[in-house]
Symmetry: C3
Subunit: 314 residues, 3 copies
């Protein structure tokens, strides 16, 4: 059945969606995942074209949208990397979006500036999907993160979450925190160095939603309580003094030794990837590691999203 | 019915085509546009592969060919941008074309050097389509420009045209002027600074075809007479002395104020896009603006072209 | 019939295959070539996705894999060039491969480091195909080279081969030499300057296989005996002293004049392409030239490979 509330919808922020919306998405994603596993995916979007406008590079998110579209028989057009840079210098964003709006059936956009996706949605007649803009919004990442939590625990409510790393500039972390305001986490720990704490507007939203949260500096202090640890990268460049970075980096690195010493056996570690060294490779083969599952979930969740928005019957 | 005159044909210059050829193209394009609007495009080119050899960057033309191919179920392969540059440095053009000729069913080429498309057509057995080479030829742009005029006015003959901007180095402008020699415009104004006037060979062709044309320096002098104003960009770098550019730039910028003051209500403004500031954004929402329609027409016109050349029955 | 020995197989080195394996591959390739010629290729791989992970640039190999996949109805995702470079700097190879393993049904990898493809195959669950890594292995190139010899001579055994050029660093030449150890060449001449002779491990393998080979410095000395001349490029940068290069370059350039003077009429010249000036353009139109045929054979051979590995019934 075509989901009317979803048809033609823009995806700008995770906060545009209700729990019911996400429930529909997750059910559809589950069907997609089943069909992928069984190797029999119907060509629901044959003849459709998805524009991928990546003004900022992103291999993982881009390829996952591309895979999602192509698994369903759709085609993609677009640009990324160098080409996008030169585009960004010349033509204004509105004209570029109008071009894609004339060619494609939906537009996926990534852009470094906050608000670009919303602006694109205002210009375009076709649905626009934000694949990350500015420092806060990456709604499809949050969708697949929540889907993965639900797959692992059977629920998103009632769990203790820790979000670790750069909560100030990292859009995946912000989106995940905002997404939790749609649910009832038992407790949320925001673990970061003081310089990289979550932005006031994000914390205001947590308060408004009544989410019990606490800001802490050291993972060790809370690790034993967590059901879900969402790790993100801390970039050395964020620190005015590199020695400051060297001092803190150890506190934000997740190792097998640390987990085995201090975490609950049920703990699951998420990461939007790519990672550099914030999760050591020896975690990969432990039951804690859920980030590869999470990465693979990008495809069925984005397949579900595209088919709901484009009105394809599953 | 397969159009025999079109099957396997190279597209090098707009002057290779007759009015009858273009009539067939426009009728096919109209069918394509209808099918696009109704969302039921048959996969006429399924299994076919179109090579896109963009030795010079072009997002708009490239994506429009790619969309046209994919809407009809064809696939594309190829290169653009940086990669093309490094290719251009190493292997000779003939070997690169032979490679694509061995892989694909048709080759779309853009290249900075005049004559590249013709040379490629001599090397390749498969049809070659010029997506812009050198300073004069961009035949598929001219096709969609003419198609748009016809869609707007019901005819291409009998209208008063102004072509504005860089008529010396701009290949879209030259191709449009040359294309008009296949028709009977009532009058053609070539509006440019003296340095950027149309090339002698283009004017010779106008004379040969008996097109009444006049070269003028200021748009204001002729704007009131025009049915169609074709705007192109003037690059500052064309002027040996930047102060010269500053002096003239105002005369070549099309604004809402100017149009409302001096143009006929029926005037329609075309532009091959991308634009920088030669048409101000406040024109976009006036009835004068036809350039977004024109850009969208790139897809059905190129769909028609590909299906005629590859012998697909509509 | 699905070829069980091929299903899900990694393709790392040509030496992983037996003559029987290659016989199956060549028969399948012949069917593919017939279907391509007749313009009726079944969509055997519809719904499948092939990841193209080109960490090192390669237009020809990449586009030939892409064409092979798309001719059979499969889709491709991936990266190449600049983007690949920045990837190579950040994320580790294993994580990148895991990402592609989660998205696609097979992974084609090119990488400058020896052993990358094998490492990727260890990380990935899906089949991995080496599209060239390090200095020795380019198995799919060797496959199409052998297929071309067989098409030209009806056999690979019993012929006299010359392999010319950079036998030390050139992976296409090394792979071809290694491939010949699976067959019974009558004689194999390794023609190169002393600095660029074949590596010890390659020669050890020739000896082990009982292939009669000889290292020579001048093509002229052996040209008259050859049935097959496999030419590869010598890069000026390989010589510590450029004057050394200038001295030898003439001995390694294949011209029409040389061939007409000294070669047997049955000689056929192969080259993995791209070439710069090691075969002059006047050879192209002689019966000696088999390198364009060889290049075109990349598509049916890779179509055969993909369909065997992915278990598609021809």
């Amino acid at each position: 059945m075509i989901q009317k509330g979803w048809l033609g919808r823009d995806v700008i922020s995770i906060l545009d969606f209700t729990r019911d919306d996400l429930e529909t998405l997750f059910e559809t994603a589950e069907q997609m995942k089943k069909m992928l596993t069984e190797g029999r995916v119907p060509r629901l979007l044959e003849g459709r074209i998805i524009a991928l406008a990546f003004f900022e590079p992103s291999t993982r998110t881009r390829l996952s949208f591309e895979t999602a579209a192509k698994r369903l028989g759709a085609e993609t057009i677009g640009f990324a990397g160098e080409e996008a840079t030169s585009l960004a210098k010349g033509e204004n964003l509105a004209d570029t979006i109008r071009m894609l709006d004339g060619y494609a059936d939906a537009i996926v956009i990534r852009h470094r500036y906050e608000g670009s996706a919303l602006y694109a949605a205002e210009v375009a007649e076709k649905p626009v999907i934000n694949a990350g803009d500015g420092r806060q919004h990456h709604p499809t990442q949050a969708m697949l993160d929540l889907y993965t939590v639900k797959e692992l625990f059977g629920t998103i409510d009632g769990l203790v979450y820790g979000v670790l790393g750069d909560l100030r500039f990292g859009r995946a972390a912000s989106s995940f925190i905002l997404a939790l305001t749609l649910y009832r986490p038992r407790k949320l720990y925001l673990v970061s160095p003081p310089l990289l704490r979550a932005r006031p507007e994000v914390k205001a939203r947590l308060e408004e939603a009544g989410v019990a949260y606490e800001e802490v500096e050291r993972l060790e202090d809370v690790l034993g309580e967590l059901d879900v640890l969402y790790v993100t990268r801390i970039q050395r460049e964020r620190f005015p003094d590199p020695r400051e970075y060297e001092k803190v980096r150890g506190s934000y690195r997740v190792t097998r030794e640390l987990l085995e010493k201090a975490a609950k056996p049920e703990l699951r570690v998420l990461h939007p990837l790519p990672r550099v060294d914030e999760i050591t490779a020896n975690v990969d083969t432990t039951p804690y590691a859920a980030y590869f599952l999470q990465a693979r979930n990008g495809v069925p969740v984005r397949m579900a999203l595209l088919s709901l928005i484009l009105g394809a019957e599953v």
